[in-house]
């Protein structure tokens, strides 16, 4: 009996593990098999056609890149400041714990609520209408916890002797932050930022009411009433009207491009995290 359990448990667990990996492979393979034939230079570079789901995805791609870039410009400084306050400036354990809990609470807020919040503040109260800037700010706020937590983990893992040595040389605390802590920990922030951007690129719910439209716009000029097209929103709308086979091919192509973009950003973060793991071992 004991022997059977000892043999059976790893087999059962391995089956679970293989099933998890098979799910990923199945999903990626499905998108690949149906999306790859659609992909061409023209599909990426042409604007969308007159009919639903015809033509290319030039401005959808542009809109997504614009939203993600804005999210980075908004989210990175906020996260950097937060991480420094939590890991460096605040000394009391109570203060740090409070900041950490707050960050987790923000992280748990469902993305649709950011969308409704953006509708209240940007679209209606500030009267921007749908605007790329509103979408970028909302996505930026959403990824603050992702970047800040990655940065805090790296700062806390920094050997204390580095900071002590710098203090012994007579460096001020601000100087220690800019000359010791940030150069040593930037890769943590960068990998957090890449993962955050991968999430921001794929988000639909926050831009649903605040930034994205389905067709009729190209490059925004200004902020007010300046929506963009975006890949996730494009897929979301087409998926609700999926019975037209022409739109179907277009849909798989768009999904393939979005998935490739997101996975590329996540994979870029891997070497940075590997380096972090190695440095932690050698201390």
């Amino acid at each position: 009996m004991r022997k059977w359990i000892d043999r059976g448990l790893p087999i059962a667990c391995a089956i679970c593990a293989v099933a998890c990996c098979a799910l990923l492979l199945g999903i990626v393979a499905t998108i690949l098999a149906r999306g790859l034939p659609v992909l061409s230079g023209e599909f990426l570079s042409a604007a969308d056609g007159e009919l639903l789901g015809s033509g290319g995805i030039r401005y959808q791609l542009f809109g997504t890149v614009l939203l993600v870039a804005t999210a980075l410009a908004v989210g990175a400084p906020l996260a950097l400041g937060w991480a420094l306050v939590q890991a460096v400036w605040v000394r009391s354990q109570r203060g740090r714990r409070l900041l950490r809990r707050t960050l987790y609470a923000v992280n748990a807020v469902p993305s649709i609520l950011f969308g409704i919040f953006g509708l209240i503040v940007f679209v209606k109260y500030l009267d921007w209408g749908k605007s790329w800037l509103a979408g970028g700010i909302l996505l930026g706020l959403m990824i603050v916890p992702t970047i800040a937590v990655a940065l805090v983990e790296r700062i806390e893992a920094l050997p204390a002797k580095y900071v002590r040595a710098a203090a012994g040389l007579g460096l001020s605390k601000g100087r220690i932050v800019t000359s010791v802590i940030l150069p040593q920990c930037w890769s943590g922030g960068a990998s957090g930022a890449l993962i955050g951007l991968a999430r921001a690129a794929g988000e639909t719910a926050p831009i649903l009411f605040t930034a994205a439209v389905f067709s009729g716009v190209t490059v925004p000029h200004g902020v007010v009433e300046s929506p963009v097209l975006a890949l996730p929103y494009h897929i979301f709308v087409l998926a609700q009207d999926s019975f037209d086979p022409e739109a179907g091919a277009h849909l798989w192509g768009s999904a393939f491009v979005l998935l490739a973009l997101v996975l590329a950003l996540s994979l870029l973060a891997l070497p940075l995290r590997l380096r972090a793991a190695e440095e932690a071992q050698h201390g």
């Binding site: 359990i5 089956i15 990923l24 937060w82 919040f117 719910a205 897929i235 999926s242 979005l258 996975l263």
Partner: protein, 296 residues
């Protein structure tokens, strides 16, 4: 001089983030006040949502959210915990890394892509599989639950793996020295010791399932009224808090203060459910594990 500049810039950024967070919370409470005054407690217990007759009961949506999340967790939990045991107890460093990379990538797939797979594949499979129960279509609460199960799998698996690896290896060695087989060590030492972390992993998975919008929206059927609350309803179209919030009714409602506050109230109920799950998980798992909770 430089010290104070870096310091004030950091505090400024933190303050700004806190202002946005507080504004979010305040706007959901303040803007939903009219509907609480109009409906009272009947807002969460009423089962009719009909905005033309100014009836706002969100019980069907709460029911939908709870059902899809529980279905998702029931399907994902065994698979995720099994995979986590495999990764934490049977794999060594390098092999574990090769296993965790695809899981991390699985966590990164956008929800709209899951939604697309749900629309084009899963809802047909569900329809065919349960054909003898005569569902009206493949858009059901069950479909949304199955789709969510795949989506929360990486979250639960990563957190469960962290919890198991938090058990000191000296405990495992002690178990072996007492004559336990490896499997007995896992079942009688690692799992009980990791139990708080595992519970937290499940609670966070539940919270994540509850907050997911886009994929659920595409396959849940989006029907406001719930004919019955029995098992049969799992194979009928339903509505969740999130799918209601994501519908075009949100845009339409803005002009009418009462209707709008009923929509915002859905958000407040959702926020309360998700935050209490997260806080409960935080009690079990006070340290950094919560950071791995990927947003829905």
């Amino acid at each position: 001089m430089r010290s104070s500049l870096a310091r004030w810039a950091s505090y400024g950024a933190t303050g700004l983030t806190l202002v946005f967070g507080t504004a979010l919370l305040v706007s959901f409470v303040a803007q939903s006040l009219p509907v609480w005054r109009h409906e009272g407690l009947a807002y969460v217990t009423g089962s009719v949502w009909h905005f033309r007759s100014e009836q706002f009961g969100v019980l069907p949506m709460i029911y939908g959210s709870v059902v899809v999340s529980i279905v998702a967790l029931a399907l994902a939990a065994p698979l995720a915990v099994g995979a986590a045991i495999w990764s934490a107890e049977y794999l060594n460093g390098r092999n574990r890394w090769w296993f965790k990379v695809p899981i991390e990538l699985l966590a990164g797939i956008p929800s709209v892509v899951y939604g697309l797979l749900g629309v084009l594949l899963l809802r047909n499979w569900i329809y065919e599989l349960f054909e003898r129960f005569e569902p009206l279509s493949g858009d059901t609460l069950l479909t949304a639950g199955v789709l969510l199960a795949v989506m929360i799998l990486p979250t639960v698996m990563t957190l469960a793996d962290d919890a198991l690896r938090g058990v000191a290896s000296s405990q495992r060695r002690a178990a072996r020295a007492l004559g336990f087989t490896q499997a007995e060590g896992v079942l009688r030492v690692s799992l009980p010791q990791a139990a708080p972390g595992l519970v937290a992993a499940l609670l966070l998975g539940l919270g994540r399932a509850m907050g997911e919008t886009i994929a659920v929206f595409l396959v849940v059927g989006r029907q406001d009224s719930q004919a019955d609350y029995g098992l049969r309803s799992w194979l009928e179209a339903g509505q969740t808090l999130t799918s209601k919030l994501g519908s075009s009714e949100t845009f339409l409602a803005y002009g009418d203060p009462l209707h709008w506050s009923a929509i915002v109230g859905l958000g407040l109920v959702l926020l309360a459910l998700v935050l209490s799950l997260t806080l409960a998980a935080g009690r079990w798992l006070p340290e950094t594990g919560l950071a791995r909770n990927r947003r829905a």
